[in-house]
Structure formats: structure tokens, C-alpha cells
Symmetry: C2
């Protein structure tokens, strides 16, 4: 369909929403993206760019365009979207794009570029509707209608004083419902949620989600209104944070792009594997220490792998549940304590059940009940340690201010390997030789 003549293609494109074209762009080469963007009206083109996932690299597409066309499209973009895209470019390319824009647009974007990308300031849009407290109902509605010409969607109307200090919010519904004689000051809601520009985006997302807000105002330290973050930005942040958590807990660096190339993936994952290699030598040295024991009882390695594997899996289970729980809400001391007790109990029960199965195998298949007993104790003990490690390590990391998700399964399974081998081989050397 991308091959047809231009008129047909333009007609076809008209039937799709910008977000659908953005998804298409993640699957076709840059040259085809460029061709399509150039066929779209500037407004639609800007929507497509703003809907493109950052992993689809809208900034590369933007850079590919003719300067004039590029300027046209950037001027149609919301400031926050323009900033997000331009921020991905290096300094020189940023300047090249900004110098073509009109002074007001350029200075607005330069201003937004100065905030950290993952802060409220980096996430906010400076386009919003604001009115003054001393306006009448009629003045306020006229002002809102006029300001809304520039803005696609607005959800909240902000009330400020002469120096742009945020005084409160007002709902359009209440304004419409109000009698003609009412002033803005009478309708103002002064009990509202706001964030400072330097606040982390995760906190912004939590606030919007907790208080079911469509948007949240962003202010500086003097309560001067700087912009607003809307719920749709926050949905993106939540998905981003969830991706980072899932990567971290699996021992992948949080910045790895899901669709990145193999070089980037090696750079992101090899360091974690090398850390794990160091800890694996620990488990390995336990085995070396007990070499004489293994030499006497050559069946032991066949059980070692089961005990280590089960320990790793149990620790991973406890870790996932605990990390996810910490992510969704802070735990009180009591809750943290009862989480650890719970994981201890789960490890004990699961360890006893699986230990019993292995006892029966050792008894009937290997005809060695004493070996069965050693394996039973090692399995139960290892799964208890697995439950304790999987729950306490993320809880402790959280308390000392480190992201609990870095207690990845990679780190935690070493614990269970070392301890599992120590228990099994130590008991075997005492009881079976």
C-alpha cells in the first residue's frame, strides 16, 4: 500500500489516526517514514511525531526533513512534545532546529530543555488555561474560549494572581453552572494538588493516579505556575517505570531499549553477568571445598542441581511478589515484618513438600534413605533461606533508599546456590561418609 501513487496514499492516510501511523512508523524504514510525513498536513505530521514511541526515534525522522518543513511541523507540536523529541538530539542538532523557530517558541522549548527529563518540569506542558481571580463569570468564559483556541484539550482551568502565582483551580462545569453575577474568586478551589518542577516523574504519576486527576499543575518554589502534566503523559510514565522494573528484576540495565541492537544489549547485560560470575565462583568454591565428599558419593551432583534450581525459583517468586508490593505502596514496619514471616513460612512448607518428593526418590530409586534425609533437610533449609532472601533484601534496599528492583533474581539466586550447596554437601560429609 505504501507503493501506490501519492494521491491514493494521501487519501489512505487520511483514514488513519495519528497514533496508528506512529505504530506503522515503528515497523518501516526511515526513508518510508519521511515520504509519508511529507505527504501529511503539518498538523497531522506533528501529531504522528508526538505519538511515536521514543524507541522509534522521532528525532531522527525530524532531523531528516527539509529545514522549512521541519520548522512547520515543530511549530505545530505542543511544547512538551517538541522538547521531548529535541532533547534526544545532540547539542549541535538542537541548536540547528531551534534557530529556525520564532523567538517565543524557541525560548519556551529552551526553557523546558533545562529541566531534567524525568522530572515534573521535564514532563510538563507550558500551554494551559489560566484566568484571574477578580474576573467576572462572563470575562472568565470569554478568556477561556480565547485561550482554548491554541490548546487541543484542557481539563482544568487555573486561577493565578498578577505575578502568575497559582491561587487555585476552577472547574469549567461549576463556572458554567454559576449565576452571571458570580466572580471567579467565589468558585475557586484552593485545596488542590500540585507539584514542584524538580519532583521525580514517578511521584507525579503516583499523585495523578492516587487522586484520579486529569492534570496536575507544576509550580516553582514561589508557587509560580509553570505548566501542567496531563494524565496521558502519566500513562506513558507508568508503562516506562514498569518496563524498567521488569528489566531490573531480570538483571537487565534499566536503560536498555527494548528494540535496541545487539551491541547495546551486550553493553547493558554483560556487566550484570560478570557481577554474577564473581558470585558464581563463590558457589563453585563451595563445591570445590567438598570435592572429597562428592568423590565418595558420586550421585550428589544430580541432586545438587535440583536443590540449586528450586532455591533460585523460590527466591525469584518471593522477590517478584515483594518488589511489586513495595512498588505499589510503601510498607509499614508491621507489614514488612509480616511479609518476611510469610515468605519464611511459604519456603518452609514448599521446601518440606518438595523435600519429601526427593526423599522418596532417594529412598526408592537410589535405595539410600539416609541420603534422602540429608536432601530433605537441605531442600527445606534452602527454600527457607530463599524466601527470607527474596523478601528481606528488597525491603532493606528500600529502607536505605535504593531501588528494591536491583535485588534482581541474578543477585538473589547466588545466595540460594551458595547456601544450598553448603547445606547439602556439609550435611552429606557429616552424615553420609
Amino acid at each position: 500500500a505504501l507503493e501506490g501513487n501519492e494521491e491514493e496514499l494521501i487519501k489512505l492516510l487520511g483514514e488513519y489516526h495519528a497514533s496508528e501511523i506512529a505504530i506503522l512508523f515503528s515497523k518501516i524504514p526511515l526513508e518510508s517514514q519521511k515520504r509519508i510525513i511529507n505527504l501529511l498536513p503539518a498538523e497531522s505530521a506533528s501529531e504522528v511525531l508526538s505519538e511515536m514511541d521514543f524507541e522509534a526515534h522521532p528525532e531522527e525522522l525530524l532531523l531528516e526533513l527539509d529545514p522549512e518543513r521541519r520548522q512547520e511541523i515543530v511549530e505545530e507540536l505542543d511544547y512538551d512534545d517538541a522538547t521531548d523529541i529535541i532533547a534526544q538530539l545532540d547539542e549541535e542538532d538542537q541548536q540547528e532546529i531551534l534557530q529556525d523557530l520564532d523567538t517565543e517558541d524557541a525560548s519556551n522549548i529552551r526553557n523546558l530543555l533545562s529541566y531534567k527529563e524525568d522530572s515534573a518540569g521535564g514532563l510538563m506542558n507550558t500551554q494551559l488555561i489560566k484566568i484571574y481571580a477578580n474576573m467576572s463569570k462572563k470575562q472568565a468564559i470569554d478568556e477561556i474560549i480565547q485561550q482554548s483556541e491554541e490548546i487541543e484539550e484542557f481539563y482544568t482551568v487555573y486561577v493565578v494572581d498578577e505575578s502568575d502565582t497559582l491561587k487555585g483551580i476552577i472547574s469549567l462545569k461549576n463556572l458554567i453552572k454559576a449565576k452571571a453575577s458570580v466572580k471567579v474568586a467565589d468558585l475557586i478551589n484552593e485545596d488542590f494538588i500540585y507539584v514542584k518542577a524538580q519532583v521525580d516523574q514517578e511521584e507525579v504519576a503516583d499523585l495523578i493516579s492516587q487522586y484520579n486527576l486529569t492534570s496536575i499543575p507544576v509550580v516553582d518554589d514561589d508557587m509560580k505556575l509553570l505548566g501542567r502534566v496531563t494524565f496521558d503523559d502519566v500513562i506513558d510514565v507508568l508503562e516506562e517505570e514498569n518496563t524498567e522494573d521488569m528489566l531490573k528484576i531480570s538483571g537487565v540495565s534499566e536503560d536498555e531499549e527494548l528494540s535496541g541492537n545487539w551491541q547495546a544489549a551486550v553493553k547493558s547485560r554483560l556487566p550484570w553477568l560478570l557481577i554474577n560470575l564473581v558470585t558464581a565462583f563463590l558457589a563453585s568454591s563451595v563445591i570445590r571445598y567438598f570435592e572429597p565428599t562428592i568423590n565418595h558419593l558420586i550421585i550428589l551432583p544430580a541432586y545438587m542441581t535440583i536443590i540449586a534450581g528450586m532455591g533460585g525459583n523460590t527466591a525469584t517468586q518471593a522477590l517478584a511478589v515483594t518488589v511489586r508490593r513495595i512498588t505499589l505502596s510503601d510498607l509499614s514496619d508491621n507489614q514488612a515484618y509480616s511479609t518476611v514471616i510469610k515468605e519464611f513460612t511459604v519456603g518452609l512448607v514448599n521446601g518440606a513438600v518438595i523435600g519429601l518428593v526427593l526423599f522418596l526418590v532417594a529412598f526408592f530409586y537410589d535405595s539410600n534413605p539416609m541420603l534422602g534425609l540429608v536432601i530433605f533437610i537441605a531442600m527445606a533449609g534452602n527454600l527457607i533461606i530463599a524466601g527470607l532472601a527474596g523478601s528481606t533484601i528488597p525491603l532493606i534496599l528500600k529502607r536505605i533508599g535504593i531501588d528494591p528492583a536491583i535485588a534482581s533474581s541474578i543477585i538473589i539466586t547466588t545466595f540460594t546456590d551458595v547456601f544450598g550447596f553448603l547445606l547439602l554437601l556439609g550435611l552429606a560429609s557429616k552424615l553420609l561418609l
Copy 2:
């Protein structure tokens, strides 16, 4: 602070948002929750209940209240929130609560209870603003103001015909901006996104997120307007789906409540461990088969644990990246193919680097260069298999319509255990004996 006299407590509670009290409720016993709920005005009490996480069991609190107080609170709840809470109760308790309500409320809630909990119908709220296409601007605004008395927040005004068939949406902004002579029909936007009631909640969340909607209308098969789902419900759905994915990929049943007791956790996790036990016996039998080889070269178990551990970690990394990528967007055949090639390459490179480290250890520490060569080949081979398994298995599951996250690290590490042992011990028996 919970101990003070009632007046002080009431004053204190007045300073908190409902969602803050809801968080407090997740940390205090049912008796204290009941005491506080009874001190709040019915409207605030209903907000607290609707903000409570389902894991905090608002339905248990509701059941604890006096019938009269309960009725008062349920009548203040939005129908969708009331339904979500009541749906957690058993049939008998549901009837007890519904019979106290007035007929209209009860029938609305009964109707909502008939939809599957995780469908658009189960998620939707039946309270919304709807107007008719033939209304004048003035009639429409009057109608909107009147209907909005009952509704906390509305984001979109729906336009229907006499038989409640959804014809389009209209933005309040455009209505206000319009000239007095304009009719609703002139402003109607007929190109809107909607969902059928039976659609899965995950799809509803994707639509709201993709098109940046504040709400989405829910219709039956004849386009009759049934209700709407709002963005705040969708944020909850996204968090829920993300929790399920993280649990599944870690081998925990997706229904396990994060704050559940140990009995529930054993029930959710033991089956996965038992499945893994079966596959662990496979890895174990590979070791048994090569017992004579190990007997000849007793250093082998010390290296086996490192090769198995690294394989498991590499597979987990590939799995997390691939599953997360599939979750966020469907992959084309080309993308799926290049994902697999990428993971193959990453496995090869990481395997070669780590294999080299182990080669050096075997060379210098164990003075056995031939053993080092075998270990190098086994490590590189195993990490290639790990990358391939971690990427192809979730991709295949997705193609045949199974949730890719169940290709949990538990399942996938067995692959690498079996293959890693086969490679290492097989090569050792050929080359080193």
C-alpha cells in the same frame, strides 16, 4: 492519633483526602476501619471505600457496617465502584445489600454485576452525560448542567438518538464556543472511538492509552450506549496487568494477592515449583548419565554450576526484554525474526566473553587447557541456546494465542540447565577422558 476522642478524630479526618484514608485502611485492623468510616459523612465514607485497593477488601468493611449506614454509603457510591465492591461478596451477601437499596440503584448494580469483571462492561460506569442531536445550544447546556448534578466529573458529552443509539461525541469546549443558533447536530463528532461491552479490559486500557482519551463509551452490539470507562479506571487496570505480568514471568500464579496469607501463596506457587521439579529431574538425569565422566574428572561439578547459572540468567534477561516488548506492541514477522537474531548474537558475544574468563581460570588455576576449551565451548553454546529460548518461546506462545509471560524464567531455565549439562559433560566425555 486514632485513640483520641471522637470530635478530635473527626476534625483530623477532615484534613485528609479519601485516597489517603484508604491507604491508612490498608494498614489498620477492620475494627478501626469501621470506627473511622462511621465517623465520616456518607459521601466521604463512600469515596474512601471506592479508593480502597481490592486487596484491602472494602467488601469486608462494607459487610461489617449496620444495614442502614451501609445503604446510605452504597447509595453515594458510583454504580461501577459499588459493583466492583459488591462483586467480591458471595451471592447471599450481595442479595442482602441489594435488597436494602432503592429499586433503580439495585437494578443498575444488578445489571453491571452481569458483566464479566475484566471486560469493558465490568469496568464501565453507567452515569454519564448524554444529549440529543436535535437540541439547540441552550437546551444542550441546560441539559448538561442538570445531568452533571449527579456526576462528580465528566469529560465527554455523548450524543444519542431516541433509542439511545450512540451517534457521536461533542466537546464541551466547542459547545461553549459555538454561536447561539448552532444545533448539537452541527457540532457532533462522528469519528470517535468506542468499545463493545464484552471487550477485554486490557484492550480498553490500550485504546485509552493509545488515543489519549479521558473516557471511552461502551456500547452493545446495536450501538446502544451502555456506559463509559474513564482514564482513572484504566490506570488501575494497567497496574493490575503489570503486576500479573511480573508475577507470571517469575513463576507465580497471576491471581496471587500481593498481601495474601501464606496458605494462598503456597497454593499459588507450589504448582509451579512441582512443574519445575519434573523438568529439574530431566537436568538431573543428564548428570546421572554422565556419572562416569564426573567420576574421572571430579572438578566438573564446580564448573557445571557456573554454566547452568549463567545460562539461566541469560535466558531470564532475553525473556524479560522480549516479553515486555511483546506486551507493549505486537511484533511484525520481520521484527520477531530480528529479535531472535539479536538474542542469538547477544548470547554468542556474552558467552564468548564469559567463556574466555572461565578458560583462563581452567588454564591457570586448574592447569588444564583442554578442560578450558571444553568449558569455553559449553558456555558459548549454552548462552546461545539461552538467548534463543528466551526470545523464541514467548514469541511462539504469542503467535498461538497464549500469554507469553507464562514462558516464565522457571520454565526457561530448565532448557538451559539440560542443554548446558549435555554440552559440558558430553564434550568432556569425548575430549577429556
